[in-house]
């Protein structure tokens, strides 16, 4: 018995609703409940066969009302919590816009998109009456408000008006006009007095329902607004938008002041939100399948600080007179607080109780001084231009416990920078002058503040302006970074320069280097470049020479990076500035965890991650010191679901190799231009590890071509070869191994598909034959050489003028074929063995490297086969080679599916074995042979996946079909995982199925 069993699904979340600390969310057709206080999933239940849950409401009797499309359900919370209880799906005959409950919870008011209200008994499900105000224009939004016995309907029409009508009298109270475009959201305040609305015009309007007058209009969202809601006794408004932000507005201000902006979701659309007033949090859901939590009571949390001090206020508090021009210079964190030096050489200490204290005033540090700290040791070091250093050890109460001064001697230049190690307990400091012949002077201190050793490290023979320092204890290596993306590494004990990386990547200043992983003769450094990119650089000394390679690389979408942290669970946190804001971004989970509008990067600042997922950010603005500490976040996590790509997934590939921990790697490519590398575990849970932003246009295809190599292609003629390093248990790393340069000046050309065949030399893979097909009908075949990471063009030709959609390289015993599919519905096959002959040969079904020709590329020979299979575009092709023949399955834009055979009788004929004209009611976007079977997996835009069998007389017969909740169903991958075929289906979401055949 063939079965298709849903294992996991993620996709747009259209409805969220709090019931105390239980957060209900509509995830496709499933109702999911999470306990936010523990971040644990309480249940997941199928609510509707097909329809997605668009709304959730809860009655005074704790009956949960669910709706979506024309489906509807009423279930008691107790029933939902009962594991065995299944949700009963009800339905009406029209699209449901909103459901409200009567005060006693006995009756539900179901508003349809034709502005009709069905009054339904919640228990018996009987329709009691049908109400209408006579105005039946189509609604995009609506709200049924119940205050006492008064039931008011707000109907947001497609025509810019909002009709307010009384249910009992079926009469129109107001027709609110003022918006432009369709009304996408309306809400009535719980006292029934006010209404908020939003429309295609991107504004929020507040209305007085007694007079029907527009009280205020707020602007701020950069795209359409989908959801609105009052909270805090109708003084605040929550909005969620297509622009992915979630905003809080002051309902009492004249023009609805926008008081908070949260960057909530990825790609497009924050669809829904709800407020839990008791905990003081907002939950939101988006297209990216994420469930985010935001703190709206941050300033009231334990440990929270928002404070500002002018020089005058510090002067007053410490009874220390400031001179006229005295300003705060640098500040550093120590164990007990913060130490700040002023332009007159005064050192102040700010303790955790936010009290200021003067530590000392030393005129040697007036004018120019640098202050650094060894935080773990509670030690501060102040340095003057001429190399005078003062080390100060602070007691717990912030008093000076010990201080020692010493001088750097023998430098020709002034001291311009001091670097210290911050994340280890070894107190190490590097002093730099701008004179190239001056060495770096490195000091190691004892806990008694004595200089244990002084080392002189020669500067590299290149422009070098130091910016950051990392020390690896295990190998005794010290890495110093510079501007001009240059790095230098020394062995400390021998004071020798081991290696210099000159301009090792594009960009300018390296803002931070850190030791990420360390083993004997092997270190992985994280290197952050200010312009927004970062790298994992693996350095080894295993064969007596320093070797290095970039394991991982990525860049942020927008902004400048100052540094990187790794949280306890291995998540990567990046921080930096974006226009006027400082931000902290969880790169692993892809969401922002902290932002502060500080005015931009050109200022003194100090950032620190505190315990309990809280952050401290201190900065100078208009000569005052500002500090914000977020306080203890009330929950375990800022995201309950992390979700997947922000836009439609266009390609999926599963690594064939099973990893040591029984997981598999998966690559997805999406319209959001991201390539995501994820780990698929035993239970087929998908955990995203990397979201690569190398592409700048929507992905056409991504595919593993070997266990540790992948290729992705996109519009703008982008094609990258990716290397995936899976040797470290901490996480797999992904980096670009090679980039195929565009062939034309036409920026619109898309690489629609590609295929590869490994090329061997002495039984080792030395490269790949790569066929690429383009939107302008071009066909190219390249040899990609692994060692030199270069592409050599072997064949260049053109199919016709129509867009090519598919490419496949087919290896037979002693021949190699290229097959293409195009928008004209034709399958074409060429025998390319002869034309490649001097470069490559084919023997025993393998491609062997001969001598690569140096002359220009050749054209394709005459076509072996050119045959129309579909009426229009061939959307997907899969190949299965058997010793006797090659089987081809194709899926078309014309809803048809065909099984073809090549080479079985006549070497130049393509046999159509089976053609199913109406194999789906919409475009078939993906077809695949299921491993170890005579079955095919097909995915189509009608949101149905089908398994076809061709074991009897090579005829395709439908064996099983199953509805998928993923809309815009566009791609699939079938892989044998744990001896079972697993189907992955992507589109506006991602679902995983076990194919039990």
């Amino acid at each position: 018995m063939t079965e298709i069993k849903l294992l996991q699904s993620s996709g747009p979340i259209l409805a969220v609703k709090f019931v105390d600390s239980l957060l209900l969310s509509g995830e496709g057709p499933h109702l999911v409940a999470n306990d936010v206080s523990t971040t644990s999933r309480v249940f997941q239940k199928l609510a509707f066969k097909k329809n997605k849950i668009h709304g959730i409401a809860v009655s005074s009797k704790n009956v949960v009302g669910l709706w979506g499309g024309r489906s509807l359900a009423f279930e008691s919370l107790a029933g939902l919590l009962d594991e065995k209880h299944a949700i009963e799906e009800l339905a009406i005959n029209d699209w449901i816009v909103h459901v409200g409950f009567s005060t006693d919870g006995e009756v539900a008011y179901v508003l349809t998109s034709h502005n009709l209200v069905l009054v339904i008994n919640v228990t018996t499900h009987k329709i009691l009456s049908s109400k209408s105000c006579g105005e039946k224009s189509l609604l995009y939004s609506g709200y049924v408000s119940v205050t006492g016995t008064e039931v008011t309907v707000a109907a947001g029409t497609v025509m810019s008006g909002i009709v307010i009508w009384n249910l009992a009298t079926e009469t129109i109270a107001h027709n609110l006009k003022g918006h432009e475009g369709s009304i996408f959201g309306v809400r009535i305040s719980d006292d029934g007095k006010k209404l908020i609305s939003c429309s295609d015009d991107r504004s929020i309007k507040l209305w007085d329902l007694e007079t029907g007058k527009n009280i205020a209009t707020g602007w701020g969202h950069g795209a359409r607004i989908w959801h609105l809601q009052f909270f805090q006794k109708n003084t605040k408004i929550l909005s969620t938008s297509e622009d992915c932000t979630v905003r809080v507005w002051d309902a009492e201000s004249e023009d609805l002041a926008n008081v908070e902006v949260f960057n909530a979701h990825q790609g497009k659309n924050a669809w829904c939100g709800d407020v839990n007033e008791e905990i003081g949090i907002i939950a939101t859901g988006g297209s990216d399948g994420r469930l985010r939590i935001f703190d709206v009571q941050e300033s009231k949390r334990e440990g929270a600080v928002i404070k500002q001090w002018s020089p005058e206020s510090v002067s007053d508090a410490t009874e220390t007179p400031f001179t006229n021009n005295e300003i705060f210079k640098e500040y550093v964190a120590v164990a007990g607080g913060v130490v700040c030096v002023t332009s007159e050489g005064s050192l102040f200490f700010l303790n955790k109780e936010l009290q200021w204290k003067l530590l000392l005033k030393d005129p040697r540090f007036a004018g120019f001084s640098l202050v650094r700290s060894f935080e773990i040791e509670n030690v501060v070091v102040v340095t003057s231009k001429d190399g005078t250093h003062l080390l100060i050890k602070l007691a717990e109460d912030g008093s000076v416990q010990e201080q020692k001064s010493f001088q750097t001697e023998g430098l020709k230049g002034k001291v311009t920078n001091v670097l210290v190690t911050t994340d280890i307990d070894t107190m190490m400091m590097v002093v730099e002058s701008p004179v190239p012949s001056d060495p770096f002077v490195l000091y190691v201190f004892s806990s008694g503040l004595d200089v244990k050793s002084t080392l002189k490290l020669p500067k590299p023979d290149t422009r070098f302006v130091s910016s950051s320092l990392a020390y690896d204890v295990q190998n005794d290596w010290i890495l110093i970074s510079s501007r001009y993306t240059t790095l230098v590494m020394y062995e400390l004990s021998s004071q020798t320069l081991l290696h210099t990386w000159k301009k090792f990547v594009p960009g300018d200043t390296v803002s931070s280097v850190r030791v990420s992983l360390s083993a004997k003769n092997k270190v992985v450094f994280s290197v952050v470049i200010r312009d927004g990119s970062y790298y994992y650089l693996e350095v080894t000394n295993e064969i007596g020479e320093i070797q290095s390679s970039i394991l991982g690389e990525n860049r942020i979408q927008k902004g400048f990076l100052e540094g990187m942290l790794e949280s306890d669970n291995g998540d990567i946190l990046l921080y930096g500035f974006r226009s006027s804001q400082f931000f902290v971004w969880n790169e692993t989970q892809q969401y922002e965890v902290f932002t502060e509008t500080c005015g931009g990067p050109h200022r003194q600042w100090l950032f620190k991650r505190l315990e309990g997922d809280s952050f401290m950010f201190m900065y100078t603005r208009a000569s005052s010191i500002n500090v914000r500490v977020t306080g203890k976040f009330p929950l375990h996590s800022r995201a309950i679901n992390v979700g997947n790509n922000g836009r439609e997934i266009r390609s999926i590939s599963i690594q064939q190799k099973v990893r040591a921990d029984r997981t598999n790697l998966m690559l997805t490519g999406s319209e959001d231009t991201c390539i995501r590398l994820s780990v698929v575990d035993d239970a087929k849970h998908i955990k995203n590890v990397w979201s690569e932003r190398k592409h700048v246009s929507g992905i056409q295809k991504v595919k593993f071509i070997d266990s540790n190599l992948a290729i992705s292609s996109a519009a703008r003629e982008e094609l990258f070869v990716w290397s995936i390093d899976d040797t470290y248990p901490k996480r797999p790393y992904i980096s670009v191994l090679a980039t195929l340069a565009p062939t034309s000046a036409n920026p619109d050309l898309r690489i629609m598909d590609f295929d590869t065949v490994p090329v061997l030399e002495a039984e080792k893979t030395v490269g790949y034959l790569l066929a690429t097909v383009y939107s302008d009908s071009a066909i190219r075949i390249w040899y990609f050489d692994l060692k030199s990471r270069s592409f050599k063009l072997l064949v260049e030709d053109r199919y016709s003028t129509c867009c090519l959609l598919d490419a496949a390289l087919i290896t037979r015993e002693a021949a190699l074929y290229l097959m293409t599919g195009a928008t004209d519905g034709y399958i074409s096959v060429w025998n390319i063995t002869e034309i490649l002959d001097s470069s490559l040969s084919v023997s025993g079904g393998k491609c062997l490297l001969q001598s690569l020709k140096t002359d220009a590329s050749t054209k394709l020979p005459e076509c072996l086969v050119k045959q129309q299979i579909h009426q229009s575009g061939i959307k997907s092709v899969d190949i299965r080679s058997t010793p006797e023949a090659v089987y081809i399955i194709t899926g078309g834009d014309d809803n048809s599916l065909s099984l073809l055979r090549l080479f079985s009788r006549n070497p130049s004929s393509l046999e159509v074995l089976s053609l199913v004209a109406n194999a789906a009611s919409s475009t078939i976007t993906s077809v695949e042979f299921i491993p170890d079977s005579l079955k095919v997996f097909a995915t189509s835009v009608d949101q149905i996946i089908r398994i076809w069998d061709y074991s009897v007389d090579d005829q395709l017969t439908l064996e099983k079909k199953e509805y998928v909740t993923v809309a815009d169903t566009g791609c699939s991958a079938v892989a044998s995982i744990g001896d079972k075929p697993i189907g992955f289906v992507g589109g506006a979401g991602l679902s995983v199925y076990s194919l039990e055949i």
Binding site: L14, K52, H54, R70, L72, A91, D94, W95, S113, I120, H125, K126, I127, G134, E135, K136, L138, Y140, V158, H179, G181, S182, D200, D201, W219, G220, H221, G222, R224, N258, K268, W271, S744, N746, P747, R750, D776, S777, T801, C802, C803, L805, T823, D824, Q871, S872, G873, D893, D894, N895, S896, A917, N918, S921, S922, T923, V941, D942, A967, D968
Partner: protein, 297 residues
């Protein structure tokens, strides 16, 4: 995308501008006509959701070029439309009985031979909602069509081949001899857009279509027996009838491919042309202005 890169990517866009059509969709109707001979012997045509008017332009050129002086074309849209030779434009609501009366008046009380609609709503990104709204738009067009189309007449409308398109195929099958899903080559393969071509109108026996002011599409088709979901007393979920309509790709294979990238040298001089008609102001025009001025944070 800049004007010239859109020209490059989209030959139909370029061709539309060159031939004076207001939108590239003109070629879709031309290719549909090539396949189905939709304009043959047609004298009275209603073009619904007609703005900016490229289909009416095609209808006008094709029908009046064969010397049909008494032919009548009515183009209806809620949006204002610039005038088109030999076309009566009505700025009106297609669901309103007055609009129906007005068209009948223009036709001198005679029924229409052909009704078409290239209308599409703004999409929200909620695929199920967008599909529902598109279906509603087609039902609105179909309401008017059942009131005005002669038996045996044809109806063509834009559809998006999504999850529930087979419900619509099934319902249309009760009203027409033949229902075909057609994809002209001028419509991009990457788009879900197709056209439902309904040939040979067959009025439902015993059902008189009546357009009422403020009546919903649900009410209109009540009793038509075309297999639409009904409201059951016990709210039980009924499975609706679904049918897959045959698919026909139309337009010559040698016609331009709307998915392909062309180099300008292949067909055109490199000067970019201005669009025939500028787009109308969007509802969010003010928001865009505020953003430009830096008033949105």
């Amino acid at each position: 995308m800049g004007k010239s890169s859109k020209d490059k990517r989209d030959l139909y866009y370029r061709k539309a501008k060159e031939e004076g059509y207001r939108a590239r969709s003109a070629f879709k109707l031309l290719q549909l006509n090539e396949q189905f001979q939709l304009f043959k012997d047609v004298k009275r045509v209603v073009d619904l959701c007609a703005a900016p008017g490229s289909w009416s332009q095609v209808l006008s050129r094709e029908i009046f070029s064969r010397d049909e002086p008494d032919a009548k074309i009515v183009a209806v849209d809620l949006q204002p439309m610039a005038s088109i030779p030999n076309v009566t434009t009505l700025q009106a609501d297609i669901t309103h009985p007055k609009t129906l009366a007005k068209i009948l008046e223009i036709f001198g009380g005679e029924p229409a031979d052909f009704v078409c609609s290239d209308g599409a709503p703004d999409v929200t990104g909620l695929h199920d909602l967008d599909e529902y709204i598109q279906a509603q738009l087609i039902l609105c067009a179909l309401q008017l069509t059942t009131c005005i189309l002669k038996p045996g007449g044809n109806f063509v409308a834009k559809i998006f081949r999504g999850r529930d398109i087979d419900l619509l195929y099934s319902q249309l099958g009760y009203l027409f001899d033949k229902v075909i899903c057609a994809k002209p080559r001028a419509s991009r393969g990457t788009s879900l857009e197709s056209f439902i071509v309904c040939l040979g109108y067959r009025p439902r026996p015993g059902w008189t279509p009546t357009l009422r002011e403020d009546g919903s599409t649900e009410e209109f088709f009540e009793g038509s027996g075309i297999g639409r979901a009904s409201l059951r007393d016990d709210l039980e979920l009924e499975e609706e009838e679904r049918v897959i309509a045959p698919f026909i790709a139309c337009g010559d294979l040698s016609a331009y491919d709307s998915d392909a990238t062309y180099t300008l040298e292949e067909g055109f001089s490199s000067t970019s042309l201005d669009p025939v008609q500028m787009p109308t102001a969007p509802p969010y025009k003010k928001a865009l202005e505020m953003k430009r001025k830096g008033l949105l944070k």
